[in-house]
Structures are given as C-alpha cells and as structure tokens.
C-alpha cells in the first residue's frame, strides 16, 4: 500500500458536487408521506365554518339539522372548548406593541372573512361539509376600515377594542440629517410604492392530524408545518402538556414558502378536539380555504424619497411605511415581522449616510400576514431599486453605473446601514459586474435599442440587494420576538451496524436538506453518504429545535452537522487508533474506511462500530465510548448574502401583457454545498418573484370580501410565464461561519419584482411611465399608458 497524502485525502469530496437528491426516489414514486396520506383507525375529519363577514359580532349560532347528517360526531364553537386550552400570545419586546391572542375559534367577534368560527367533526370530510350547510350564524355587522390608509386614521373603527388602536407597531430608524440632504441635493426622486398582498400558495394545503394516546396521555400532531419545534413549544403551553408528551411531526411537506411557518388556528383546533374526543382528528385545508385564510404577506405602502448628488452618489433616504398586518399578530413572528423588515432593509446594499425610516403596522379585517419568501425585502428592494433607476434616469446616468458608485465596496465591510444592519463582507460589487457580464449588458442594450427603433416596447431592469441569512442568536429573526431562532442542534450517532444517523431541529420541505446535510456529514465523518440518514421535522429529535425558515438551514444545520460530526469523528479515530494500534495522527477516514498511513491497516466504519458496541472487551471498559455526539451551533451574527438580478421584458402594445424575455441572477451564497439544489432554489424563488411582479395579488373588495379565492383568480406563474434563468455563482471571500455557507432560499423573490418593475418602466420610458404598484398587470399598464398619453395631449 502506497503512502497516503493526507492533505488530499482530507479534502471534502461531496460538498460542492451536483449530487442527485436522496429524497427523490420516494417522492417520484408516490411513496412520499404527507399528512393527508396518514389515516389512523378511528379517524375523524374536521370541516370549519368560517366567517363571511370582515368584522361582526356573533349574536347566535344555529346548528339546525346538522346533527341529522349521517356520520356527524360533534359540533363546537368557541364556548364549547373554552376551558380546553390557553391562548397563544405572540409577545414582543418592542415598545408599544399589542399582541393579539390566538385561539382556535373566534370568540364573540369575527375579524376577517375566512376566520374559523365553528368546527364540525364527522366520520368523513364529505359528511362534515354537508353539516356546514345546515349551520347558520346571526351576525351583527360592525364598522371596519379595510384599507391600511384608512385603518391608521385616529377615528378608524377599532378591530381589537382592548388594543385601543389599530396601529399595534410603530418604529423609527434614523441616522444623520435626512431633511437637510433632501433640501440641498442636486437630485431628489420620490414615489409612493405599493407591494400588494400575496399568498404563499404552497401546492399542499395546510394539513393537520392530531392523535391522542390515551395510554400515555400524550398528543402527537402530524403537521404540514416547517417549524415543528416552535409549534411543539407553544402547544405544550397552550395544552399544558410537557414536551415529552407533546410531539409535533412534519412528515413530507409539500412546500411552505412561509405559509406553513406560523401557528395556525386549525393546528390548535385538531389538538384540542383530538384530546377532547379521544379520537384522531384531521384537518386538510382545501384550496379555497388556503387562499382565504392561510397567512398572507407583504401588503406594504411605502412613501420614499431619495437624495442624490450630481455625480450620482446617494446622500439620504427617507421613508414612511404602512404595513397592513391583517386582523391578528401571528405566532411567533408577530405582526412586526414584515413591516419592520421593510424599513430595516430599505437602504439596501448601498452606502447612504442619512436615513430615516418610519413604519406603522396596522390591523385590518383581513387574514393575518406572516412570513412569505423574502419577508419585507421584496417590498423594500422594489421601492429602493425603483428610486435608484428613477435617479439614474434623471441624471442621464446608466443604471449599472449609478449602482457601481454606491454599492458598498469590499474595503468598507463591515458596513453599518442607516437602520443599524451590519453588512458582513459579501460580493456586492462583484454580483453587479457578474450579472452584466453573463447577460452581456452592452449587447442587451443594443438589442433593446434596435427593438425600440422598430416601435417595440422593450426594457431592461436591474435590482441589487443584500439580505441577512443564517442569523444567529444576536438578533431575533423577527424583531423583539422572545424565542430563540439563532441556534441549531445536531445529534449524530453511529450505531452498532455502522449506520450513521444525524438528527436535526430543521424541517426540510423541498429544500433537499436530507441530501445536502448528508453531504456535509459524510465529508466531515469520512463515511459513505449512503450510510447517512438525515432525520428532521420531528420535535422529538433534539431538545430544542425551531425548523426551516429565513434561509437558515444550510448555515445553521450545516454548521451544527460539521461541529457534531467532528466530535463523533474524534471518537471514531480514538477507538480506531486503539484497535489498529497506531497513533491517532496517522489515521485518515474517507469513504467509510479508516486507514493508517504508517501501516497497511484499514478498518471500515462497520467493523469499527461492531468492535466498539458488540465485542465485549475489544476496547478496555474504561476507554470505550459510544460513537455519538450532540452539539449546538450558533453563528451569532449570521451572514450577508447578496445578488444582482437583471431582467429584460417586452410589452405587447396590443394586450399590455408583459413577457420576461431574459433573466439573469448573479449571487454570492458562499461555499456551495450542492449547485444543483442552489440552482433549483434560485429558479423557484425567481419564478415567485415574477409572480409577485406580474400576476399575484390577493384582492379584498370594499366590503372586505375576498375576490381571489380560486387559482383562476389568484394567478401563479406557469411554465409559459417563466424564462430560462441564467445564474452565475460568485464565490467571494467566505463568511466567518463554520463551513462558509450562506443562506440561499429566498433571494430570488427579493430581487425579481424590483428588476421586472424597472424593466417595465424602462420599456415605457418613452411615455414617462414609472411603475409604482406590483403586480404590474395588463390592466395597470393600460391605465398608466392611458394616463401618460392624456397628460401628453394636455
């Protein structure tokens, strides 16, 4: 046997490779197990009667002949379950914040169309829905303000009387003297930008199945959640069950994008009812219910002004934001999550000395807003990137050049923004150049100008942004929120057969973490990837876990995997050194084999595990250690992730329909674990950004009724709406966290709406049209074009 060059042997082999996913075989063959696929004996089905008023007092409920429907078991309203739980309260340390309590069913009053009010439990969902037809509710309609601009008014009708106001959050960030620079600047641009309400629309509806174990007096909730640990912790309190008798399992989950990342009424409800009835109870939201009542998102109104000097340098930014948070503050993120992020991230990746951002979060009679891919930053990036292009146009400066002059440069990191965010080193400038290179920006400009010469409406738009990903314990994911989102625990064990099991608090729901974390573990341990099973999505796996959200799982999960695998590996090598009678420094583990460089001796993980666990006396009893470890990782600060998006669009002057003809993303996501999966995340997030830019809008009319309750009304992108997306990965200096990974889950949704809004504005620049509302639908373009033409004529 030849001598082994340890430096080569130790080099990671799997991280960085386009490894095919281990999740795929089960999902491709219909062998996945989603919540609705689980059907225990004695299962009961829940159907929910929802409010059809935006704000009303419930005077009386009449169940009529509902119990005459064969199979109906029980019907409950809020009064029937009052003593069976404690409300969940999404508290916050923020000053002046009012936390609306969350209960399974509306008590006394309803506050949005779609709010759960009455529960019908039956032997089949068909029977339960039949029973709903017989139930009638006597409402006393109450006044309300459906639009955020009306709801903030001092005399607006109150949605929660106890709060004393509809404005339950108000924050201000300020640095420098923005009024002065606005007064003195060579150029000032301003706008009133509206990012309308969205729904995350994962393909699988929210699904919950609660099973009460009479023997152990224990509850297991199978939930389509992406935060099983958080749900376990809060329900443990609500139901007064200790964590060892309250378990939350997220099996295969059909997407979330944030929509399944908060505590849901129905999630509490199945638990309360399963314990009360001592039968398994399942709720599966149909599409109409999810479009009506899943947590919604964005819904921001941003008035902003940007001061720029004659050379295109950004001097100051001022913004006033009203976030429409809906009828309740969501658990655990609170209603502050989305609006406060807007003013936190508004200055973007730019050097801007003077800043003032004010935000108010206001209650309106609509479903609560919660996390949705990108959180706050799709809206803030839309407003900021529009202002930058408006300024460039006013100065006659190329939109790339104005960004080049203002993006924070490598030597300026760490850079503190006017809102207090600290940007760690990331490839801000390199992403801008990378996107332009990949798209061949000069050629694109020539193509645009040639098309324009033919009278076609063609435009190019850019968007640069930065986000914080993999945030550690220094700051909460949602401001002021009193739960820990900054740590991740991994427990790794090699069992007596040599198989490796690595358990986490994360909860993969499409991200492919069973693959990527196995790559990390196998590299670190030196075992074979096929010998590693990644366990996740189960509150029983680690003492405290939260789940997968906020682009955290590669950074925190990857860090925890690395840290823990190193401890296990030290135990492996210590045992091997004894068994092989060689110094520990001579040992190298790779591909499931431990080799000694000083001899020909080798040992597989399987042989080693057998010796450690099964062969009494092979290792002296006082030196023998189980091959297990559990470690927690906290990146403390988190990592910055940055990107530039470039879009080219063409507008049909006959139909006003927008086609995205070219889309390029340059992003810095640090060390890449699996490029195949990173590309997939970028593609999917950009598609959602295209949806936000051109198609998707939750519409409530003046009566508070939802007008977009089907997929024929709430339009999401299909294959013909999305172009091929060019991606360039910029791997600049790695961030200072274990593994050098950055979070990659959300960025596409952050950059794409702004880039497309800029491209549409560019395409209509001959008319002086500036896009200020998304989605920029054919109807909106028609109106903007007509208005512009009317003004020109006048």
């Amino acid at each position: 046997m030849s001598a082994i060059d340890a430096s080569v042997e130790m080099r990671p082999k799997l991280v960085g490779q386009r490894i095919k996913r281990t999740e795929d075989p089960r999902l491709l063959t219909g062998s996945g197990r989603y919540v609705d696929d689980i059907a225990p004996a004695g299962l009961l089905h829940l159907a929910v009667m929802r409010s059809d008023h935006p704000h009303a007092r419930i005077r009386a409920i009449n169940v009529g002949e509902a119990f005459a429907i064969p199979g109906v078991v029980a019907i409950f309203d809020a009064g029937d379950i009052k003593g069976d739980f404690r409300s969940a309260v999404p508290t916050s340390r923020m000053k002046g914040y009012y936390a609306t309590p969350i209960r399974p069913l509306a008590e006394g009053k309803v506050r949005y169309v779609g709010e759960p009010m009455i529960a019908v439990v039956a032997e089949s969902r068909y029977a339960a829905e039949d029973a709903l037809e017989h139930i009638s509710v006597d409402y006393e309609p109450l006044p309300f303000a459906i639009r955020q601009v009306d709801a903030v008014a001092d005399d607006a009708p109150l949605l929660h009387d106890e709060a004393g106001t509809n404005v339950i959050i108000a924050r201000e960030f300020a640095r420098g003297d923005v009024e002065k620079v606005l007064a003195d600047a060579a150029v000032v641009v301003k706008g009133r930008f509206r990012m309308t309400r969205k729904t995350p629309m994962p393909m699988e509806g929210r699904s919950y199945l609660a099973e009460w174990d009479r023997r152990r007096q224990a509850l297991t909730l199978h939930s389509s959640t992406n935060i099983p640990g958080i749900i376990r912790d809060v329900l443990s309190g609500c139901l007064d069950l200790p964590g060892n008798r309250m378990r939350v399992v997220a099996p295969d989950v059909g997407g979330s994008f944030g929509g399944k990342g908060s505590l849901n009424h129905e999630e509490m409800l199945v638990c309360v009812l399963a314990r009360k009835l001592e039968r398994p109870v399942k709720f599966v939201a149909d599409r109409m219910e999810d479009l009506t009542a899943m947590s919604q998102a964005f819904d921001e109104l941003i008035e902003a002004e940007l001061a720029v000097d004659a050379d295109g340098r950004l001097l100051g930014l001022k913004a006033d934001v009203i976030g429409d948070i809906g009828a309740y503050s969501i658990y655990p993120w609170t209603g502050a999550l989305e609006p406060v992020q807007v003013v936190s991230f508004l200055p973007g990746p730019y050097r801007i000395e003077h800043y003032r951002g004010r935000v108010r979060g206001v209650l309106t009679p609509k479903p609560p807003t919660g996390p949705y891919r990108g959180v706050g930053r799709p809206s803030s990036t839309f407003a900021m990137e529009r202002l930058i292009e408006m300024a460039a146009r006013k100065l006659g400066m190329d939109p790339v050049e104005i960004r080049r002059r203002n993006l924070v440069r490598a030597e300026e990191f760490p850079y503190r923004t006017g809102s207090g965010i600290i940007w760690d080193r990331s490839a801000f400038q390199e992403c801008l150049e990378g996107a332009c290179d990949l798209a061949d920006y000069p050629a694109l400009l020539r193509a645009r100008d040639a098309a324009r010469a033919e009278g076609r409406w063609v435009g190019i738009g850019l968007a640069s942004y930065a986000e914080l990903t993999g945030i550690g314990s220094r700051i909460a994911v949602a401001p002021g929120m009193p739960i820990n989102t900054g740590t991740e625990t991994s427990t790794i064990r090699i069992d007596a057969t040599g198989a490796v099991t690595a358990a986490f608090g994360i909860s993969s729901h499409g991200q492919g973490l069973e693959t990527t974390l196995a790559q990390v573990v196998a590299d670190e341990l030196g075992c074979r990837m096929e010998d590693v099973e990644i366990q996740h999505g189960d509150s029983a796996l680690v003492p405290m876990g939260t789940g997968t959200y906020a682009s955290r799982s590669a950074v925190l999960g990857g860090g925890a995997a690395t840290k823990t695998a190193r401890v296990v590996k030290a135990k492996v090598l210590k045992a091997a050194a004894y068994l092989m009678a060689v110094p520990i420094e001579d040992l190298v583990a790779e591909g499931g084999v431990i080799r000694a460089s000083s001899s020909n001796a080798t040992m597989t993980f399987k042989e080693l595990a057998h010796a450690v666990y099964a062969q009494m006396g092979r290792i002296p009893h006082d030196q023998r250690e189980d091959l297990v470890a559990s470690e927690t990782y906290d990146p403390y600060l988190g990592t910055a992730c940055s990107s530039t998006h470039l879009a080219m669009v063409e507008i049909d002057p006959g139909t006003y329909g927008v086609t995205v003809t070219r889309f390029v993303v340059a992003e810095d996501c640090g060390r890449i674990i699996n490029p195949l999966i990173v590309d997939g995340q970028v593609h999917g997030a950009v598609a959602q950004g295209i949806g936000a830019a051109l198609l998707e809008e939750v519409v409530h009319d003046a009566d508070g009724q939802l007008l977009t309750a089907s997929l024929a009304d709430y339009l999401v992108p299909v294959a013909t709406n999305v172009p091929d997306i060019g991606i360039v990965h910029i791997e600049a200096e790695l961030p200072n966290n274990i593994g050098g990974f950055r979070g990659m889950g959300e960025g596409g949704t952050i950059g794409a709406p702004a880039a497309i809004a800029n491209a549409v504005s560019d395409a209509l620049s001959h008319l002086g049209v500036e896009v200020d509302t998304l989605p920029v639908t054919p109807e909106r373009i028609f109106r903007m074009v007509e208005d512009a033409r009317t003004i020109r004529k006048a």
């Binding site: 219909g30 062998s31 068909y126 393909m203 599409r287 590309d679 299909v718």
Partner: protein, 160 residues
C-alpha cells in the same frame, strides 16, 4: 345525495370493484378507497394539475372526475410508473435534472408528461412549456422540468 353505485376499474393493471357514493371524487376514490396516495389533491377545481392521472391513456384531472365516471376505465397513476430502485424513465429524468423539490405537484407532472410524450411532438421548448402549462409547480420555476422533458422528447420513439 348518497346514491351508491358499484364500479369496476383497472388501476395500474389490477382490477378492483367497489361500491361508492355517486358523488365520490375519483381522486378521493384512489387515495382513500384504494390507498394510492401518490395522486395528490392540490386545488379541487381543476387548475393546478397535481391530481392528474391517465384515464384510458389520456391525462385527466381526478379531482374533476367522479369515481363512477371511471367505471370500466383503465387508470394509470404515479404508482404504476416505477418504484424505488426501479424508477421509470420519466421519473429518472426528473431525478437527473432535479425536476422536483417538495414533490407534491410531481405525480401530476409525471402523468401529464407521460401523456404528452406519447401524443405530442414537443419539438421545441415553447411546445414543452405549453404542454406543461396546465400544471402548477410552486418550487422549481419549471426550468429543470423543461430540461427533463427536452431530454425525454429527444430520445423517445414515434408518437402514438
């Protein structure tokens, strides 16, 4: 409303006879009566395509079909395309090209594509995207699915 009917259907080559409610959806019949939970229900109004199956060889929305309408029919579902360790060709192409993420819409895509490959020319990406446009995927942005279908279209034999 609870009129019942006795139906016989062939599902993935196996014949089965059941007495069902006249109003039972074919998707619910496959999932709950036969335990074939690979067929997923995404919208129950015929837009998303997650529940797509093959009904007598052509793609159909099982959420818009009553079980009794399938009496005497030959049904193919995702479970009939292959199994773990023996993926069918369309399934393998999805894996090779990373054409799925959460996997919920995937069975519907696989069945639609099986039909499209048998019956449509799919000469270019525009054709392929048009063929896929009746199915919604919220995760992938479609590009990897298009890549998989392009490969399948190039290698397949003559149309049926």
């Amino acid at each position: 409303m609870s009129a019942e009917a006795r139906i016989t259907v062939t599902v993935n080559g196996l014949s089965c006879t059941r007495t069902v409610d006249a109003r039972l959806l074919l998707s619910d019949f496959l999932r709950h009566e036969l335990g074939l939970t690979g067929t997923h229900v995404g919208c129950e109004h015929g837009v998303c395509g997650a529940c797509t199956i093959l009904l007598d060889g052509r793609s159909a929305r099982s959420c818009l079909t009553l079980a009794i309408q399938a009496d005497g029919a030959n049904i193919e579902t995702v479970e009939g395309l292959g199994r773990i360790g023996e993926l069918g060709r369309v399934q393998q192409a999805f894996r090779d090209h990373h054409g799925l993420q959460c996997g919920f819409c995937t069975p519907g895509f696989l069945m639609t594509i099986t039909d499209m490959l048998r019956h449509h020319s799919l000469e270019n990406d525009e054709d392929i995207r048009e063929a896929l446009s009746g199915n919604i995927c919220r995760c992938t942005g479609y590009e990897h699915i298009v890549n998989a279908v392009r490969e399948l279209a190039r290698e397949r034999g003559p149309l049926k």
